[in-house]
């Protein structure tokens, strides 16, 4: 589904990603661990194609197409989706209309909002005065409308209270077709700091990012336990 080869990326003239290789297969969910500032968000933003993330070297292939320099909206149309950590407020644009825009006119998002008890937000302006948890729900509902094949999630659990983690987890499972055990087509790449999300969403593989490089790969739960026990310091040592 996604192949990244030797990817080097600059942000504001500063080298942030230094030779990333990553392969995510159809139906797989991968987790990305790493300290603040290690380059995790940069990787997601680069895959999605935001301005300001300058690819200096390397190649990103998605569904067999070279998307390294493809415009942002074309990548979205091809099946990439991203949940924003701090999305901007869209004044005067109602969440109801936003969900329809994401779904190319379909009402799926609106129906899901009702199903998840979020209908009270449908006529509110997108993200205006939303709490952390409400932003996450709004982002995930937009993605559910958009129905991407590869979903990029940047700390989906941050700012969400325990009660709502369940709902967020359920939305992510739905996005990634976790109920399907055969012929699953949806893939995911999730940045997590706390690892809480692993209690709700199973992941196939974990990676640790340190200073712009992926230094460790393996079972995400094992990796996360090691990080919890020894900190990222151990990962740094493990590199050598």
């Amino acid at each position: 589904m996604l192949h990244i080869e030797d990817l080097w990326v600059d942000v504001h003239g500063k080298e942030v990603l230094k030779g990333i290789d990553l392969h995510i297969g159809k139906g797989e969910t991968h987790c990305l661990f790493g300290r603040n500032g290690s380059g995790k968000t940069t990787l997601l933003m680069t895959i999605m194609g935001f301005d300001g993330y300058k690819v200096k070297h390397g190649k990103i292939t998605f569904k067999g197409e070279d998307i390294t320099y493809m415009p942002l909206n074309e990548r979205a149309k091809l099946g990439l989706g991203l949940s924003f950590q701090r999305p901007p407020t869209l004044r005067g644009v109602k969440l109801r209309d936003m969900l329809r825009l994401c779904g190319n006119g379909s009402d799926v998002g609106v129906q899901l909002a009702i199903e998840y008890g979020f209908e009270g937000f449908l006529d509110r302006e997108v993200n205006l005065g939303f709490s952390g948890g409400e932003i996450k729900k709004s982002e995930l509902l937009q993605l559910l409308s958009q129905n991407p094949d590869l979903t990029l999630l940047d700390e989906p659990e941050s700012g969400v209270d325990v009660e709502n983690l369940n709902v967020i987890g359920d939305m992510i499972r739905r996005l990634l077709e976790k109920d399907k055990h055969r012929n699953r087509t949806k893939s995911g790449l999730i940045i997590t700091h706390t690892g809480f999300i692993l209690n709700y969403v199973t992941a196939d593989r974990g990676h640790v990012m340190l200073d712009g490089k992926l230094v460790c790969h393996g079972n995400p739960i094992d990796i996360f336990e090691r990080i919890q026990q020894n900190g990222y310091e151990e990962c740094a040592k493990c590199q050598f």
Partner: protein, 393 residues
């Protein structure tokens, strides 16, 4: 301030440029208007076929073509007739506006073409709006209008006014003197749509007085090109608990000069005022004013000026003013002028929208000021107009 001075020194020159409306022909009845004109009026909020309008006043150049109102509780007359019938309307005519204010008020005092007089009787609550239209049908004409609206005690009235020019003309001058009286506990919603042409000068002079417990809501929409607009309606909240709210949505294409704003004088305790303006420059020059004057204790007022620059050329000059004359007032303002934030565009693009669609979604949202009591079809016309003006750029 140089811009303002230019306008003032040009007053006499502007007046000289145009032919007085009483020196050109006018139509005798509505059947003389062709389909193109009727469509133009509709786009300006004036729907001659609409069933949910309780009355229609239509003046072309200087002549009143239609003046009819279906309900007994509301009186609608051409102002020239009202002046005769009510002995010069002594309590209302030139009582809120000084006829010597400027060259345009003087001109209208001396050479009145016509205008409307609308009065909602005591306690009369009108569900559907009345529509009035001031239509310049010939090129290079100066139309001089004086309007008086009286909402008697406890009444409710909604007026939609469309001001426009013939679809094929480009040049004209519209002077509109408006004096509105909202009496005790009454409510007046006044929605004005401007749909001018590229060489039209517009000089409205408006003052509203609101008595105890009364409410005045103004909606102003101008989405098309115009040479020059200068308007600064002033609402005086005279009685305890009176409320005023002004919403404006203004788009200035290249070549347009729009100097507009609203002033609320909070002259009685517990009065409330709100001014919200959304302006977009596609290369035109906009001065977005707002002035709140707190003169009595326990008042609350807020002013919001938001401007979007969507072209390299053009100017948006926001001038929010707060003026407190007593200690116990609560007045605030926020003003922001700039281009569309790139992160908003990218947010929508990440959901699959093209850059163009993302931009129009944001612009539509920006102009989406809640306009209370707007009939559905007018709301749709406005949405279409926003769409068109964005596409045309």
């Amino acid at each position: 301030m140089s811009v303002l001075n230019t306008i003032q020194t040009n007053e006499e020159e502007i007046l000289k440029r145009f032919k007085p409306a009483d020196q050109v022909d006018t139509v005798k009845d509505l059947t003389e208007l062709d389909n193109e004109e009727i469509l133009r009026l509709k786009k300006t909020g004036v729907d001659l076929d609409a069933k949910n309008r309780l009355g229609t006043f239509l003046q072309t150049n200087c002549g009143v073509v239609s003046c009819s109102c279906d309900i007994q509780g509301v009186e609608m007359l051409p102002i020239t007739e009202a002046l005769k019938k009510y002995d010069g309307l002594k309590d209302y005519y030139w009582k809120l506006i000084d006829p010597d204010k400027d060259a345009f008020t003087r001109e209208t005092k001396e050479h009145l073409d016509n205008g409307y007089f609308i009065r909602a009787k005591k306690g009369e609550k009108v569900i559907y709006p009345l529509q009035t239209c001031l239509y310049i049908r010939n090129d290079n004409v100066a139309q001089r209008v004086h309007n008086i609206v009286v909402a008697e005690e406890g009444s409710e009235l909604h007026i939609i006014t469309g001001c426009t020019t013939h679809p094929h003309l480009t040049s004209g001058l519209h002077i509109g003197i408006s004096e509105f009286y909202v009496k005790k506990g009454a409510k007046l919603i006044f929605t004005m749509v401007h749909n001018w042409a590229e060489d039209v000068y517009v000089r409205p002079r408006t003052t509203i007085s609101v008595e105890e417990g009364g409410t005045f809501l103004s909606n102003y929409v101008s989405l098309k090109g115009v040479k020059s607009v200068q308007a600064f309606p002033t609402c005086i909240l005279k009685g305890r608990g009176a409320i005023a709210r002004f919403n404006s949505v203004i788009v200035a294409p290249e070549g347009s000069h729009i100097d507009t704003g609203s002033r609320i004088i909070l002259d009685a305790p517990e009065t409330r005022g709100e001014i919200i303006s959304r302006t977009i420059s596609y290369g035109g020059h906009i001065i977005a004013r707002g002035h709140l004057i707190g003169k009595a204790p326990d008042i609350k007022a807020h002013l919001e000026c938001q401007g979007l620059m969507l072209a390299e050329k053009g100017v948006i000059h926001a001038i929010p003013e707060l003026e407190a004359h007593v200690a116990d007032v609560d007045m605030s303002h926020e003003a922001a002028v700039g281009k569309i934030a790139k992160e908003e565009i990218e947010y929508l693009m990440a959901r699959g929208l093209s850059e163009e669609d993302a931009t129009s979604t944001i612009v539509r949202g920006f102009l989406n000021v809640k306009i209370e009591g707007l009939p559905k079809e007018l709301d749709e016309e406005l949405q279409k107009a926003v769409e068109e003006c964005h596409k045309g750029m």
